[in-house]
Symmetry: C2
Subunit: 321 residues, 2 copies
DNA sequence: CTGAAAGCGCTTACAG
DNA sequence: CTGAAAGCGCTTACAG
């Protein structure tokens, strides 16, 4: 019936249609006092008729609203990211922030406007044009970089996930259990060795034990007595492969993952893992975000360049290791 | 050093600090042509000094930007929702929409401004004050309600997830396999029977087989020969319980879940399930969203009230059933 | 290469 | 109970 309108109705259109002024429309819409019932109904009817929807921009310009956080995660298909996102959502929501979630491909998100970015992608965040001084917090396992490319152009902080203590605990455990021929999984398609593989190799080397490094997904070589998967989902896959091959875990081969996924409790045997306290990560990361957004350089109140906080993984023995 | 500013710097503050006009600031920020290099540098320096961050509201008012979808999910801890959210994110992103993700507690999200809501929460969405005509699409397994409370106050559509065909296939399979004493799990804390339990009960009744209904989490009663869990995560838990009790699956007890979670491939034995094609759900739901947001009542172009589209579950036999 | 003006859609005091 | 005015922060033509 109605021809498609050339542009969306504004408050002025509603006012005209109802024969009132714009602020009377505001009153009707927000159920404010001091408006005749008949007037309100007329305005509401006009709004419905015109399919009027308030512009969040017009409103936002004039009313202080929630801040918006852009949360960038590498891959929602890996339960690691939803577990983290869930914590971030709750904590950010409690602090009055909205969360726009995106995977890297869609990360023009920030261009169109968020008040801060929390990046969980494993790759360096590149501050977009047109968003100078955008607060950015990056979370990752890489060591602190002396040169921080993000720092010159934006307010920047880090959360470093420190695998080292858990790696040492895990290797000590495996060696004590008799492991002498471990296999390490490297992320597929990586050219340079990842930090986690380096840490494991060094820890085994310190015990006089050489390691084999293979891409994740590779069948476990004969003669191996332990597999350190790249992450928990990788460990789940290794366990399935070994089960199908009829290899006893942990008797013949021990398996260790990384992440500490909640869903791991349903996998048999329950994998040993380098677990991360997701709630702690969320808390620490958001403290950095809030501090940066408020104009403080870091949660500690100091104005150091690229403040970095650490969260440690913790080795948890399951049934597989 | 810098005292905390009483209010955030605006483009006018930057202009004043750099000794230029506001549109010169815009030029510098957006790297537009027709500005002296020296001027640009001066402006950029002033912006950095004042920690200037453009207002997304000011900008949004004047430039057409991405639309924002509010995606409401019941519980990110259940992998079902991340799997769905992941699809929605990608498809919405490809269509130029941002996605604000929230769990129900935080759902004042919509108040502050989204252009549409996609609700996956299992409970009826209540349109907020101050957001008349907000397009809302609800996805759920409940049957169509003749009275749709959302419809009078907002543009509204549905996606109904239809369990019936898969339930019939599953029950036929179980009965053929010899099941005569099945247990159905009901969601905990529910007062009224859920649709899925009703469907299973009726299908078993049609085969002359009575069922027991117990709350999810209840230990499997002795004498049972099948458990229909409330969802896949529930089925994972049942499998773990049975394994610990030394019950053979599927020989002694068969187990069926609902959802078709990807992560199920790592659970032993891999559970039979009423699987949902998440990509299809996302596609169909977003078609409804886009249609409503554009002012059409439904994707089909008709202006029917509360248009509803269906997506069917599909029974997938795993190792547990 | 730079600036004065207009306008995006809304809400908040302030009058009447 | 209702309206005229001002202003939120930005960008886009248009002058010069």
């Amino acid at each position: 019936m109605n021809p498609a309108p050339r542009r969306a109705a504004t408050i002025l259109d509603v006012a005209a249609a109802a024969g009132v002024s714009r602020q009377t429309v505001t009153r009707a819409l927000h159920e404010m006092p001091g408006i005749a019932v008949a007037t309100r109904e007329r305005v509401l009817a006009a709004a419905a008729e015109l399919d009027y929807r308030p512009s969040r921009f017009g409103r936002g310009l004039v009313k202080p609203g929630a801040r918006t956080l852009g949360l960038l995660v590498a891959d929602l298909a890996n339960p690691y990211y939803p577990e983290l996102a869930s914590r971030v959502l709750r904590e950010a929501g409690a602090a009055g922030w909205h969360v726009v979630l995106a995977e890297p491909g869609t990360s023009d998100v920030v261009e169109t406007g968020v008040d801060a970015v929390l990046s969980f992608t494993g790759r360096a965040f590149v501050a977009p044009r047109g968003a100078p001084n955008l607060p950015v917090v990056e979370v990752g396992v890489e060591p602190d970089r002396a040169d921080c490319p993000g720092c010159p152009t934006s307010r920047h902080a880090r959360v470093r996930l420190d695998l080292a203590p858990a790696v040492h605990a895990a290797v000590a455990h495996l060696v004590a259990a008799g492991v002498r021929s471990p296999v390490l999984h490297e992320a597929r398609g990586r050219s340079t060795p990842s930090r986690r593989v380096g840490l494991f190799r060094d820890a085994f080397a310190a015990a006089g034990i050489p390691v084999r490094v293979v891409p994740a997904g590779t069948a476990t070589p004969a003669g191996s007595d332990a597999v350190v998967a790249f992450n928990d989902v990788g460990a789940f896959g290794v366990l399935r492969e070994l089960r199908q091959a009829g290899v006893a875990v942990p008797e013949s081969v021990r398996v260790v993952g990384v992440d500490g996924l909640t869903i791991g409790r349903y996998v048999t045997p329950r994998p040993s893992t380098l677990a991360l306290d997701m709630a702690e990560v969320a808390t620490v990361a958001l403290e950095q975000v809030f501090a940066l957004a408020e104009g403080r350089a870091s949660a500690s109140g100091t104005t150091e360049r690229c403040p970095t906080r650490r969260v440690e993984h913790r080795f948890v023995v399951g049934e597989s290791g």
